[in-house]
């Protein structure tokens, strides 16, 4: 899982059809969702990401862990997957 951040980045780009992003150089700590998103993602994309994470990794982003915290950046998302898969 060393390159989980890159793997998740590629899957997000695939699901959300983000083009022209090199996931090996993307800042893992940069905002993932919102106007400053490093991948240009918004809240509608976030829904797809939540479903994709559950399908691909069997990790549910539930109600108690707020998705706002988990989807802060690629780093926080990958950390959550590591801790829960």
């Amino acid at each position: 899982m060393k390159n989980l951040e890159q793997e998740v980045c590629r899957q997000i780009c695939d699901v959300c059809r983000v083009k022209g992003i090199d996931c090996t150089v993307v800042d893992k700590g940069a905002p993932l969702i919102g106007p400053e998103s490093v991948l240009g993602l918004d809240s509608l994309d976030a829904m797809e990401i939540v479903v994709m994470i559950q399908t691909e990794y069997g990790v549910r982003i539930g109600s108690e862990e707020t998705s706002r915290e988990i989807l802060v950046s690629l780093a926080t998302l990958a950390e959550y997957i590591r801790e829960n898969s």
Partner: protein, 332 residues
């Protein structure tokens, strides 16, 4: 200044409630606060318009959670509204001087610490004020990761935001809480109420009947409204479903967590099974939201359509109806 433990939560009203009760030494989780407050609901009201789009709600009306939790647990909840902003701020200061953290209803659009992208005109946003230093108030806003501050002028504007659900300076606090709580009794009352609302109300806009009515309409939106307007309507359905767009089927999963806690409170393993079923239903709502998002973003996959979205809502309605009927039957 009082020592107030800030905790970020999924939803503002249940979060404020849980945080305020923790201050008073009562360990009530956010899902428990949401469940005891009878927070789960569904209504589709096309004749009520928000920004020219129909109202869809997945939760009980704002303020209901507070009142129901206080009633169910025997808490002394005090609430006040004001006509005069000056008096409203004085009343807040008085309570803070007495060391009482205060819940406020505010207009989220006017809170400067909320990132601009997340601000919208919603006047039933709850937060806690737990102190004042000069012109600044100490704020515990459950949608924020950390406690924050706000100026007196900004807070006053947010407390007197105009429009639908205008807060009118509303403040609330717990004056007294009992040492022991009738949790099991309150949980049963709330479980029955929500189950009846969801599966037994003979009105076509409410509960699972409301879901099916929405599904019937939604499937025909492209033909009735035209493509652009249909997409706006679909966006509204999922915008109202998600908490700031990222929570999945937030309220269903929150209530599922409440059912899970009820397994322990009621010493009833069936509650765990009900929780698992509602979690699965929450996942279905998420599939619907994801499909709707793809349609709105114009990146449809095979099988994505308004009709497929409507079918998914019907599936959720069927499963929720069966679940809540089973809960009612089980509780007797």
């Amino acid at each position: 200044m009082v020592e107030f433990c800030h905790e970020q939560t999924a939803h503002c009203e249940s979060g404020v409630l849980a945080n305020l009760l923790k201050f008073h030494g009562l360990d009530i989780s956010e899902p428990m606060a949401f469940g005891l407050g009878q927070g789960l609901f569904f209504a589709y009201a096309p004749f009520i318009r928000l920004n020219k789009l129909p109202l869809i709600t997945y939760r009980a009306t704002p303020g209901r959670l507070l009142k129901q939790v206080a009633r169910g647990l025997g808490l002394d909840l005090r609430m006040r509204q004001f006509k005069d902003p000056h008096k409203a701020m004085l009343a807040l200061d008085e309570l803070l001087e007495r060391g009482i953290p205060v819940g406020l209803q505010t207009g989220i659009f006017w809170l400067p610490y909320i990132p601009r992208a997340y601000r919208f005109h919603f006047n039933a946003h709850n937060l806690v004020v737990y102190g004042r230093a000069g012109d600044e108030y100490k704020i515990s806003d459950p949608v924020m990761p950390f406690a924050t501050t706000i100026s007196q002028a900004d807070l006053q504007v947010a407390r007197f935001a105009q429009g639908a659900l205008a807060p009118k300076g509303k403040l609330y606090f717990f004056a007294k809480v009992p040492a022991t709580l009738p949790l099991a009794e309150a949980a049963c009352t709330s479980l029955r109420y929500v189950a009846k609302q969801m599966s037994g109300v003979p009105f076509f806009l409410i509960g699972t009947r409301g879901m099916r009515f929405l599904a019937g309409r939604l499937g025909k939106w492209p033909a009735r409204l035209g493509d652009r307007n249909a997409l706006l309507h679909l966006g509204q359905v999922i915008r109202m479903q998600e908490e700031i767009g990222t929570g999945g089927a937030g309220f269903r999963l929150l209530y599922a967590a409440f059912l899970q806690e009820c397994q322990g409170v009621l010493d009833d393993p069936c509650m765990g099974e009900f929780s698992a079923r509602l979690t699965e239903i929450g996942d279905k709502w998420r599939l619907f939201a994801a499909m709707a998002a793809r349609i709105c973003k114009e990146r449809r996959r095979d099988g994505d359509s308004f009709v497929s979205c409507a079918r998914l809502i019907c599936t959720c309605a069927d499963r929720e109806e069966q679940l809540f009927k089973d809960i009612l039957r089980h509780l007797g």
